[in-house]
């Protein structure tokens, strides 16, 4: 009998090979999609390109000259004014260019007193008051500016002489005068239909009776001003009377915005600053105001036409401009030390007088 164990039957290796084949197939498929071995530069994410970069300049490395002025020039309303054909013609008239480049005018702009006055926070704040902004942008005001009579009046030698008389400027600055202005009576009086009428309007009576005006009238400065031959000549000039009676001027003087502006504490404070008073009395400014060149410029048909141009008036009275003038950003800009520094810089005055704000078309 044979007890040796029987040779076990050979097992089939097919399942093993099938399994290996399946694994190999999976491996091949994987490699086909993902690659093998790991590839150089294969980051497996969004790989950033390798680029050398040295340090670059920063904003402080850019040295500009009065860039604040450029911001102003970018404004569409400013551009509308600058590019207005009438305005451009006015700027180009010999009278105007002579006025702008006259030594008197440039000296006036460069006077330390004016610079100091313009730098006064009070004045800047006054200019930035919404009321004044609204007043200056009101259609009545802009129309008034455009009246030929007003231009003629402003350029009358008597008027400019009056404006530049020390007595008058002192009176303008007297607290009593500004107080009278702020009560509205004086402005109302100025709109009386006929100042020379024997039948004085009630407003005029009230004005004359106001303690503030009486106080103002008593100040030596105002008395001197009122009695100056120059002022009386001016007040009697047909041009000024015509201007004062122009409905548009009367409307603007009556406007609540203007009255509110005139009575704004900021404006009053500004008018009382020694700097402004000093500026108004500066010989350079007075000389400039009375310069024949300026007077001729104000009377040029081109300038008057420009001021009356519908486009310009529309621009100045546009709600957008009014809104712009009242925006905190602009008010902030107007009172910013940078703008004040720009406005008083020699560069700005040089720019004003040499055409920086002129049309940009190249030769």
């Amino acid at each position: 009998m044979d007890n040796a164990p029987a040779t076990p039957p050979k097992k089939s290796k097919r399942p093993l090979w099938i399994g290996v084949g399946v694994v190999a197939a999976c491996f091949v498929i994987y490699i086909a999609f993902h690659g093998w071995p790991p590839i150089d530069n294969a980051s497996g994410t969004i790989g950033a390109a390798n680029k050398y970069r040295a340090g670059q300049m920063s904003e402080k490395d850019v040295r500009l000259q009065n860039p604040e002025v450029q911001k102003i020039l970018q404004n569409d309303k400013i551009q509308a004014i600058i590019n207005n054909d009438g305005f451009k013609s006015a700027l180009a008239t010999p009278a105007f260019t002579a006025a702008m480049s006259s030594p008197a005018f440039t000296a006036a702009l460069a006077t330390p007193q004016l610079a100091s006055a313009l730098a006064q926070p009070g004045l800047a704040a006054a200019l930035a008051t919404p009321a004044l902004a609204a007043a200056m942008a009101s259609p009545a005001f802009t129309t008034a500016l455009a009246t030929p009579q007003l231009a003629s009046a402003l350029s009358a030698p008597a008027f400019t002489a009056a404006l530049s008389s020390p007595a008058f400027t002192a009176a303008l600055a007297s607290p009593a005068f500004t107080s009278a202005l702020s009560q509205g009576h004086l402005t109302a009086a100025l709109t009386a239909a006929n100042l020379t009428s024997p039948a004085l309007k009630a407003e005029l009576k009230a004005t004359l009776a106001s303690p503030a005006l009486q106080s103002a009238l008593k100040t030596p400065e105002l008395q001197a001003a009122l009695s100056s031959p120059a002022l009386s000549a001016a007040m009697q000039s047909p041009a000024l009377q015509s201007a004062l009676q122009a409905p548009s001027l009367q409307a603007s003087l009556k406007s609540p915005e203007l009255q509110s502006a005139l009575s704004a504490p900021a404006l009053q404070a500004a008018l009382q600053t020694p700097a402004l008073q000093s500026a108004l009395q500066a010989p350079a400014l007075q000389s400039a105001l009375s310069a024949p060149a300026l007077q001729a410029a104000l009377q040029t048909p081109a300038l008057q036409s420009a001021l009356q141009a519908p486009a310009l008036q529309a621009a100045l009275s546009a709600p957008a401009l009014q809104a712009a003038l009242q925006t905190p950003a602009l008010q902030s800009a107007l009172t910013s030390p940078e703008l004040q520094a720009a406005l008083t810089s020699a560069a700005f005055t040089s720019a004003l007088t040499s055409g920086a704000f002129g049309a940009q078309a190249p030769q």
Binding site: Q56, V62, R63, L64, P67
Partner: protein, 980 residues
Amino acid sequence: MHYPLRALLLSLLIAALSPSGLYGQLFERETDNLRLVYYSKAHEYLVPHIVGCFENAFRFESRLFDYRPAEKVNVLLQDFGDYASGAANTVPFDFMSIGIAPFSYVYETMPAEERFNLMMMHELVHVMTMDKPSPRDSFFRSMFLGKVAPIPEQPLSMLYAYFTGPRWYAPRWYVESIAVFMETWMAGGLGRALGAYDEMVFRTMVRDSSYIFDVVGLEAEGTKVDFQVGAASYLYGTRFISYLALQHGPGPLLQWFIQSPGCSAGYSAQFEEVYHASLDDEWQRWIGWEKRWQQANLDSLRRYPITPYRNVTRGAMGSVSRSFLDQGANRTYVAVNFPGQTPHIASIDVTTGSVENLHEVRGGALFYVTSLTYDPASRTLFYTADNNHWRDLYSYEVPTGTSRLLMKDVRTGDFAFNRGDRSLWGVRHFNGISTLVRIPYPYNEWNQVLSFDYGKDIFDIDISPDGSQLIGALTHVDGKQFLIRMKTSALLAGDASFDTLYDFVNSTPANFVFSEDGTRLYGSSYYSGVSNIVRYDIAKRAMEWVTNGETGFFRPLPLSRDSLLAYHFTGRGFEPVVIADRTVTDVNPVGYLGQAVVDSFPVLKTWALPPPSAINADSVTTSAGVYSPMGNIRLASVYPIVEGYKVYPGYGLRFNFSDPLFLHRIDLSASYTPNRSVPGDERLHAAFNYNFWEWGLNGAWNGADFYDIFGPTRVSRKGSSLGLNYRNYLTFEEPESLEFSGDLAGYWGLERLPEYQNIAVTFGRFYSFNAAVKYSLLTRSLGAVEEENGIRWELSSLNDEVNGVVYPRVYGSLESGTLLPIDHSSVWLRAAAGYSPGNRAEPFSNFYFGGFGNNWVDHGVIRRYREYYAFPGATLNSIGGTNFGKLLLEWVLPPLRFRRAGGESAYCTWAQLALFSGGIATNMDDPALAQTVGDIGAQLDFRFVFFSALESTLSFGYATAVEKREKMTQEVMVSLKILR
């Protein structure tokens, strides 16, 4: 009638010689090395910074090139265009023109480097490399008392120009390559030699197995047929010298470009001296290397699945604008610009790919074409024209096909339409400042919204569908770029704050647009070195990649929730494709050649300049004030000349004077004809020309002309003349112009008519006054040889006074041409008519016609058969009359371009055939004297380039003319125009 014409002439001369006060002022700021001139005080705010940038670059380059120009470099600041520009020349003076507007960053063809810093670096390299003389050049400059500018009137000047400035005679790729290379490393790597666009162009060529032009073929053909035209010179040149730098280092590169004692005059010869190989051979080696380099990049990109796409159209479209979807019509609107056709707005069917040409874009720009936006409610497109100057805004109504000018010179682009209130928002470039503006309906005024500080620029803006948000790319002066978002209501209230969505560092966040539901943004970025489409989820504040491309994807436009239209870069421009809106997670970066260069040669890192603030402009300023053109006139050069008097040569000298800005240009010439056949009183010749702005004054004594040596047309005349001319534009908005000109002249001691050499005269003196008005609106496609389309007309009055009798003549011409569907082929109809009331027997009363009009050697218009006085086939001046009518029909065939016909020193770039036929009738009121002649002919022109910079044209013409009841006459014309 007797006129005191001498008195009139004298008074006009006197008035003309007093130009001061008639023109605007120019201002200047000078340092030891610079004369900076500007025409507007409003640009003055930039002066300190520009002076700093100039001096900063000058100091470095002067040391590196070991050269300090003998004169100040004159720089003109201008704001003539809405995007930055720079140009430089060194002949006869060192001069640079700098456009102060911000750069266009489209497709990252320009880096976001601070622009004046970059432009000063770049343009000064041109000055240094072209101006620095070898000892030989210095010798000739001393001999000619300056650098000679080649002029067509005196062809010998070409030779003198080569003697005094040989490196000026170099191809564009050579001149620009070193400037781009230097600008990159001086800017610390922020330049085009390390740019993604350049890398993409060559990667695409290799991927598509496109032909890479050789050193001759690039300028002969490549820059004309490639949709990038002249930009191809920059691309090829920069790649080639970056390759040279990688192979051999920056040292030999500088040796090649910098003139030094013993160096070769020509750039090609100098290359051989430095690299010991021919330029041609090395260029071929570069091409082989470039293919291997780009193949490695492509292999790297292909490690991850490349995004599949479906082509919408059958071919690429050249440069493309932003595009918009008209869902109702299943069409997309895009502006395109490719060689052979004028730029236009196209309408593409997204499904079928059919393309319809909607409307021409006048003044289309390279790369971005126009600023296009769309109002889907009214189906109105808004686009800009005159894109290469001051942009105008137009509307185009798709339903009616009507285009309307909305605002002229609005200088605004990057438009986005606000569906909330129908307003347009855009970016205005003015005085170098970027301003976000809003143009409310009905689009007749713009309003400032936000002006950015100098150095910051916003572009590629879009507005959300509900109108509440605005996004855009914001770049800073340090080159960093961000994707930002602002609220439109806040902006209108004066609030300039913004939300930074993504910091792209130095890569451009390009063409981001809102999805239709406003929750996502789609744009493109070269973050990995390849421009891929990216998607930004606004709520999650997360950026994801949508494509892994081989060349580049741009300008995405959501088509549906799961697909986008995009533009895929190819060698023929951008092709619209549709891709799936999916996320890809794996994108390999590519390698930059520029990076390899700086890694191999870190010395380039030492080239990075310190900031320009290191220079105090006030400290280096030597003077500031008003620029006086008259006060700056000086001698530019003197050189010997040869002139022809009748058929005999004369020899003499020419003196050239100018101010550095070329406002005053004066030349004086004097020569002597030794031939004894010329009467003694005619042997001496003298002439002068003076030009100032629109005015010109000229005079001659026995006037001679170089080209009279060859004939058959001759302009030299016995006698003396004095003339005053005035030319000015009543309109100048390229390509449209309306010009007025007036000429007043007096002639004494004549024997032939000034205008007609074969017409003898019996009087010794006469005067003429001519005035003309000329209108032109002619356009050409990219790569064109000449204008191909448009209209031109002229009305002229010719008045001659002889012995107290005035002989007036008037004529007009009208030409109209249209581009055919065949690229660069056009058909023209040219008509002319004239009338004179004078006595037919008097020569002055007649018009004369005949001949092609070209001289054997010439410098006038090549296709002179188009002029009203020409009539090919008939003898010169053989047809005459006191009235005439003329018609010419012309077909200009497409040019045949030669990829390589010649060598580096001389090659032919193209040949073009024009066929024409016409007729003329004269003395139509007198049958006995009437002439009616017809002709038919052809002219074949070959354009050659000599010494890389001198373009000459060799023309062959044949025509036959036949008059009623007369024999046929024939004419063969051969003419070489020496300079363009």
